[in-house]
């Protein structure tokens, strides 16, 4: 067993874990943050995307041990005081989900896109940048719409 300490959604957490614990297992099983999903477990689908030190990564393809000292944000860390994050709100408004399984990863990736590419995102950019996120329900159309709307809504007023 090894010790890890990190900040998750602003809270300091420490635990003794088996070194082979994946970040997604640590989040779901140790911290009971089950909003981060496992869709494929083979690094393809993006349902497990979280932010580590401000960057989107696949938590099924990252050891919790390598995140020692890092700051992690999951889907649970986005809403504040009962108000959804603008990207979450945009998915709700634009019907950007059906079953919702891919949605946490979609939203974490979408915010990462905005952080890198700004608030004015064209359809082509959004589709290219969502390369690593698979949705089996929506056909993507409303997801793309949601991301564009969320990106605008995130712009400083």
């Amino acid at each position: 067993m090894i010790s890890v300490s990190m900040t998750v959604n602003g809270k300091a957490v420490s635990a003794k874990i088996d070194p082979r614990t994946l970040l997604v297992q640590f989040l779901r099983e140790n911290l009971l943050l089950t909003g981060t999903h496992v869709g494929c477990d083979t690094s393809q689908c993006g349902a497990c995307v979280v932010h580590v030190d401000g960057k989107a990564i696949k938590s099924c393809t990252t050891l919790a041990a390598t995140c020692d000292g890092a700051s992690v944000v999951t889907i649970e860390g986005l809403a504040h005081d009962g108000a959804l994050h603008p990207m979450q709100e945009a998915f709700r408004e634009n019907h950007g989900l059906q079953c919702g399984f891919c949605t946490p990863g979609m939203i974490m990736s979408a915010i990462d896109i905005v952080n890198r590419k700004g608030h004015d995102l064209d359809e082509h950019t959004i589709r290219e940048e969502l390369e690593g996120n698979i949705c089996r329900c929506t056909g993507y159309h409303n997801i793309v719409k949601s991301v564009a709307a969320g990106a605008h809504a995130m712009a400083p007023k």
Binding site: I2, P19, S43, K55, T62, A65, S109, E131
Partner: protein, 267 residues
């Protein structure tokens, strides 16, 4: 995934001694190849040595006429580096086309080069740019480094510390991505420096990345897309799978080379 001991050294020397202490240790860089392989139980190292905290592996520098990239530099950081974009835009573009954004935020040049996947992108860049792989022990020319699918010149316990790229006059990389995995079905990197032309092909051959002598000769005579027309590519040892036959890939090599040359000429 099978159990392993986890180590987090902070210097290359400590990495070396950690490797010496375990029979079957593996270096962990971005983990984007190693972890999926371990999860499938296709690899079961006794120890995993995390390079994430090792000093001196994460810089991108200009040294004389070379761009030198540390082994732990992530694909996303090569793609967005001002130094790389200015000196070797083809290399920045290549890094920006690997996998997807989350993979690019973790995967490293050192891991990709050490792995030498027959469909990986970086090996083509290293070969076509005449790069040098620097390890904790020595310097290895790209031509000597890549020795067939998943095989390199690295000895047991040898650690890549950086890769040095001479700046070309012109270069471009074009890949035909597999529509599902985004790995190259065929990727061609073309570079020109003075009278020297290099053409490296990834994704096509059962022997991994290689330089295409016939295409190089044609382009040395005249560096334009037309020069490649009709130049035969020997596909006898090419990959044939559900995505395409060997002949299809041989034809793609020619087509991708033409596109790369056109791109290198800025047309």
């Amino acid at each position: 995934m099978y159990a392993f001991a986890y180590q987090r050294p902070t210097t290359v020397r400590q990495v070396q001694s950690a490797l010496g202490k375990h029979d079957d240790a593996k270096l962990l860089a971005g983990g984007q190849t190693l972890l999926p392989t371990m999860k499938q139980r296709l690899a079961s190292p006794s120890a995993v040595i995390d390079l994430g905290h090792v000093a001196g592996l994460s810089a991108i520098e200009k040294k004389g006429r070379n761009i030198v990239i540390g082994a732990m530099v992530r694909h996303a950081d090569v793609a967005t580096s001002d130094l790389v974009r200015e000196a070797i835009p083809a290399l920045a573009a290549l890094a920006g086309g690997i996998g997807d954004p989350a993979v690019r935020n973790r995967g490293t040049i050192g891991g990709s080069v050490a792995n030498n996947d027959p469909s990986a992108d970086y090996p083509a860049a290293l070969l076509a740019l005449g790069a040098t792989i620097v390890t904790n022990k020595r310097k290895i020319a790209a031509d000597d480094f890549f020795q067939g699918m998943f095989t390199t010149a690295l000895d047991d316990g040898e650690i890549i510390t950086k890769v040095s790229f001479p700046v070309p006059a012109k270069a471009a990389y074009v890949k035909f991505p597999n529509p599902a995995s985004r790995y190259a079905m065929v990727g061609v990197f073309v570079s020109k420096k003075g009278s020297d032309v290099k053409v490296a092909v990834t994704g096509a051959s059962n022997e991994g990345v290689f330089r295409a002598a016939g295409l190089e000769a044609a382009l040395k005579a005249k560096f334009n897309a037309k020069a490649v027309e009709g130049v035969a590519v020997d596909g006898s040892n090419f990959i044939s799978d559900i995505h395409g036959t060997a002949d299809y890939r041989a034809n793609l090599v020619n087509v991708m080379t033409k596109r790369a040359v056109t791109k290198a000429l800025g047309k």
